[in-house]
């Protein structure tokens, strides 16, 4: 059985194994989970820890922990991506606790202004306003938005990651997006 069967996304690079070390079903499944989640997980973790270097460290640690615990994953208890993001969330929050910093989104208005883009000044301003709006949200609301729009998780998966029901996750997410939109509309 493939315990980590999930959606597939393009990831640069290919995981290989030598013929002598033929991967087991669980390893192949984890390989698929890794490929489908690498960038999403980084985006979510980076949103939480707000430091690219720390985000890389936490992302790697989360994959490492998940790999070591892969045999203990029970498909009957939830989606593999939710399981993986739960591990990453704990690792990110532990990192934040260790550093004594508050979790904030990685989106820094200053970064966006300096980002080299070929888009119009108006588009840049909209993006800056959006980033400012995000920064004005509560940490939990920002986490919901990061899980939904940066990591691409469904409401059920979001609920599993942060420990609430699917409908509750949907309600909270809707409120966060509405609040963000109001903040952006006010700024523009």
């Amino acid at each position: 059985m493939d315990p980590f069967g999930g959606r597939s996304k393009s990831v640069n690079g290919t995981l290989t194994a030598t013929a002598a070390e033929a991967p087991s079903t669980a390893e192949l499944a984890f390989d698929r989970l890794y490929r489908s989640s690498r960038d999403d997980l980084y985006a979510y973790v980076a949103s939480l820890v707000r430091d690219p270097a720390a985000a890389e460290e936490v992302t790697a640690a989360a994959f490492e922990r998940a790999y070591r615990k892969r045999s203990r994953f029970d498909p009957g208890r939830g989606e593999p991506r939710a399981w993986l993001f739960g591990i990453a969330r704990n690792a990110a929050l532990d990192e934040l606790r260790r550093r004594g910093r508050q979790a904030e989104l990685a989106v820094d208005p200053a970064d966006l202004v300096s980002a080299p883009t070929d888009e119009s000044a108006e588009a840049s301003e909209r993006r800056l306003a959006l980033a400012a709006g995000l920064a004005g949200l509560e940490a939990r609301e920002r986490e919901l938005i990061a899980l939904k729009f940066f990591a691409g998780l469904g409401n059920a998966e979001i609920g599993a990651v942060i420990g609430i029901s699917e409908s509750n996750a949907g309600t909270r997410l809707h409120r966060a997006v509405t609040k963000l939109r109001e903040a952006c509309d006010g700024a523009l």
Partner: protein
């Protein structure tokens, strides 16, 4: 500047803000993933942490299997240790069990404890602080107070139970030797019954009174008659009732003496009759006390011995040749299982509370960690 047209417009912009990993990090992580996420150099975990991490990585089924195997091995080891120590340590309570078991089975794994013909493998059940010199003695502590602990000499009642194992055709001869031994010890046969027949049916039973001073010799003589299957001796300290009885007797005698003086001085028939009535009552009381004193005296001077001769089937020596048979194997297996059960119970009594405390500590720590993590987002 135009605001967002609708929610989809906002979401599209949001997705464009998504943080992306650097090429170098992504390539490095892919390499590590391909290699099975080897531990990074520079991260030195303590052996305990490494062990815990390895345990946590195990699948639950494998973990349960390993834990079960470890528990079983520990149980087996503890059982073996307890059994061996019990056999070697004659002072321990286990030895008492083993000793009885050895006597009963007549030759098995614990055969070095097994009494041979005339063996003196004995289980003693002694009253506390009984001096050997006073055992069986009859001197009364009449010069002491009413409390037994203050008595200089102790009055001790001794009793014994002896089971001999014999072949059916030897029962009559053994019974005859028992009578001889009782006679030699100046003892009394209170009752006896000798039954003939095959193994399991033939046997004999004796209720004996043996002078306390000769009890040891008599038991040795009985033990020499045939194979000792079990032997049990007990002592009971009867100093306190003996002292009490003595005092009651003295008091009663003093009362009688006083009444006799009153009787001599009585100057009327009515007074004389009243004193005589009191005197009669007191004499009855004195007689009752003397009777109890005599009983106590007999208990101290004559030891009750219950002796049985058994053949086959029962707990007597089934196999006087000493060979180890199926019955002995079953007995030993039962004994080992009993020890294993005892070890398990003791182990659970120790481990259970500790495991419960550890479980609650783990739960509390988990809840604390979860709250601390959530506070980070608050």
């Amino acid at each position: 500047m135009e605001p967002f047209k609708d929610e989809n417009d906002l979401i599209a912009e949001l997705r464009a803000l998504r943080p992306r990993p650097s090429q170098e990090f992504a390539a490095g992580l892919d390499e590590r993933a391909a290699a099975g996420f080897p531990r990074r150099s520079g991260r030195t975990d303590s052996p305990l942490r490494a062990f815990v991490a390895r345990l946590r990585a195990l699948p639950p089924r494998r973990l349960a299997f390993s834990a079960g195997a470890t528990a079983l091995a520990t149980l087996a080891l503890a059982t073996a240790l307890v059994t061996v120590n019990g056999a070697e340590d004659s002072g321990s309570p286990t030895m008492r069990l083993d000793s009885i078991g050895a006597h009963e089975s007549g030759g098995h794994l614990l055969s070095h404890l097994n009494p041979s013909r005339g063996s003196t493998g004995v289980e003693y059940e002694a009253a506390p602080s009984v001096s050997a010199g006073a055992v069986g003695g009859s001197s009364r502590g009449t010069d002491t107070g009413p409390f037994a602990s203050k008595a200089r000499h102790r009055e001790v009642e001794r009793s014994a139970e002896l089971v001999l194992g014999a072949d059916p055709d030897r029962v009559a001869d053994d019974a005859s030797q028992v009578f001889d031994a009782v006679h030699a010890a100046d003892g009394i046969v209170l009752s006896s019954a000798v039954t003939g027949g095959g193994a399991g049916y033939a046997g004999a039973r004796f209720d004996l009174l043996i002078p306390a001073a000769k009890l040891g010799d008599a038991l040795a003589a009985f033990s020499a008659i045939d194979t000792v299957a079990s032997r049990h001796e007990a002592t009971d300290d009867i100093t306190a009732p003996t002292v009490r009885i003595g005092e009651q007797l003295r008091d009663s005698q003093a009362t009688i003496d006083g009444l006799l003086v009153q009787l001599a001085g009585a100057d009327s028939d009515g007074a004389r009759a009243e004193v005589e009535a009191e005197l009669q009552a007191e004499r009855r009381h004195a007689a009752s006390v003397r009777s109890r004193a005599a009983k106590l005296d007999r208990r101290a001077n004559l030891s009750r011995v219950s002796l049985r001769i058994e053949t086959g089937g029962g707990s007597a020596a089934r196999d006087s040749s000493g060979a180890w048979g199926v019955g002995d194997a079953l007995h030993d297996a039962g004994h080992i299982l009993a020890v294993a059960a005892a070890v398990t119970i003791v182990g659970l009594a120790i481990i259970g509370p500790l495991a419960l405390i550890a479980f609650f500590a783990w739960l509390a720590n988990r809840a604390r960690l979860r709250r601390a993590r959530e506070r980070t987002l608050a």
